[in-house]
């Protein structure tokens, strides 16, 4: 349309300017490339280039039944030799006969894995048989839950992708359900249940302090029954990290919930983070007024003097 050009044209022009035009195009126009790809495929066995161009498309016929890929695990279900073309398990990993059975020591599905019995006997986090384990940092971790009674989950964020598109003055940062604008600062949201909010005298969009012995983060409260009582929810992916000192306390106002979550893996001896096993307490931020006054003062100082 208009003066717009195809990607191929654009890259050809750029590479020509870099002195690499011929290397990039190999002397071919767009249609030449289409013909080269056509020739490199199985299509010439089905349709001529001329007819293909005239018709504009070719419907690939369904695969012949005898050529279809074998279905994964069907060989095991039917007690046959493995017929799926993949390298694993390696030849030495078969329990008994090559290609027969699974790569477990017994060659069978193991509800109590032999390998875990052998290798993780000293790891209470990985019992051979799966079972419910109370969280090491959850409502049943009684000592800790006395000081920090709310269970915080810090999931992936909805509107940003990890730290991408968050902060940095982006349009996403202005999404009201992503960050709330209070006194010129966009605070991360903490979602909590009306009962938990009422018990703490917290109103919708009030600034709240979420804290435990690891730190303190300031968020704006988002109150709704979409969160169960006893649980608070935020996101793990803040792109901002802003420690400030207000009223004799250091708090983080960027929304870095990762400050509050445990450093230990979810399951010991594995590579797993634990942003959802975290106990916190939430209170209305007592220094909110000092913060707002300071912000207003700073804004006033920035106004040009008439």
């Amino acid at each position: 349309m208009g003066e717009s050009r195809s990607d191929y044209d654009i890259f050809t022009a750029i590479l020509t300017r870099l002195g690499l035009g011929a290397v990039f195009t190999e002397g071919c126009s767009e249609i030449d490339w289409a013909k080269r790809v056509f020739d490199s495929s199985d299509l010439p066995g089905h349709i001529s280039w001329r007819n293909f161009c005239r018709k504009g498309y070719f419907v690939v016929p369904p695969e012949k039944p005898e050529l279809r890929q074998p279905v994964d695990m069907r060989w095991f279900a039917e007690g046959r030799r493995k017929d799926v073309p993949e390298p694993h398990p390696l030849p030495s990993q078969w329990a008994e006969e090559f290609g027969m059975g699974l790569q477990t020591p017994s060659g069978k599905l193991e509800f109590v894995p032999e390998i875990l019995k052998r290798n993780t006997a000293d790891n209470p986090d990985r019992p051979p048989l799966n079972r419910y384990m109370p969280s090491w940092e959850g409502p049943r971790a009684t000592e800790r839950a006395k000081s920090y009674p709310l269970q915080m989950i810090a999931t992936h964020s909805r509107y940003s992708f990890h730290t991408y598109a968050d902060g940095k003055n982006s349009a996403v940062s202005q999404v009201e359900d992503h960050r709330a604008l209070v006194s010129g600062h966009r605070f991360y949201l903490l979602r909590l249940n009306p009962a938990d909010a009422a018990a703490r005298g917290i109103g919708h969009r009030d600034l709240v302090k979420i804290f435990n012995d690891r730190g303190a983060v300031i968020c704006a409260a988002d109150i709704s029954p979409l969160v169960a009582q006893g649980v608070v929810k935020s996101y793990e992916a803040s792109a901002e990290f802003q420690l400030i000192d207000v009223a004799g306390e250091t708090v983080e106002i960027g929304g870095c919930m990762n400050m509050l979550t445990p450093d230990r893996p979810q399951t010991q001896g594995t590579s797993s983070m634990s942003p959802n096993s975290c106990l916190v307490e939430v209170e209305k931020w007592r220094a909110a007024d000092s913060f707002k006054t300071a912000r207003a003062g700073r804004r006033a100082a920035l106004e040009p003097v008439a």
């Binding site: 349009a171 996403v172 202005q174 999404v175 009201e176 359900d177 029954p225 979409l226 169960a228």
Partner: protein, 286 residues
Amino acid sequence: MSKWNLIINVGRCENCYNCVIAERDEHVGNDFPGYAAPAAAVGDSPIRILRRVQGSPPMVETTYLPVMCNHCDDAPCIRYAGDAIRKRDDGIVIIDPVKAKGRKDIVGSCPYRAIVWNEEQQVPQTWIFDAHLLDQGWGQPRCQRVCPTGVFEAVKLEDAAMQQKAAQEGLKTLKSRLGAKPRIWYRGLERWETCFIGGSVSAEIGGVVDCMQGAKVTLSQGGKPVATTTSDGFGDFRFDNLPKGGGAYRVEALHADGRATADCVLGESVYLGELRLIRAEETADL
């Protein structure tokens, strides 16, 4: 002459903000003379998404309601601002980016709070129905193109035909009592305006508490039955489309395994929780 209308399907919006982001993408830093001055990168959005959460866990219903310029036929902003704002022949309302320069006072004239102030350009701005794109032959505004759940439906119809469609399909406008004649219609606005009373029927049988399917549940007010329904496989039941602040109601659940009642006063929607059935002989013992 056919004119533009936008139908919003209430209940389809799931708050993804694609429409808001697309609107910013279209206008931030882009000047469309005669339509709109470049929007500010930072500022209020001309499309807002309101939220309503009804009930309490586990029976919670969330509704998101996109709200924007209604392109009213009897627009309060035009009455207020005179020739700074004009009504096009196709129904679209445009705030003139030149004539409205410096007119921050116009912002307050909209009863729908759909006008935002652009601090950088010193102009009041709205969602212009993407008039600049429609004039180039687009069949729908960007909000409709980017919406993954089909919330928006732009339709170009004669006014009489639109009135008929609205009547047939139960389309409503916001704050219709103001008489501004909006061109943005809402389908299923009951979900935004009315309330529900819900609950879950259970019974203890042989020492086990279970959900009770098929209980006949009656809603009554002042002794008169208002509605009946049947509990589902989870024992859940729900009475919809009740007026906000509707007063005192009684819910009675009847089942072969017993009977249960609950009373409530309806302000906002209520989830009554569990209604545990009591057998007739147990009641007799009391």
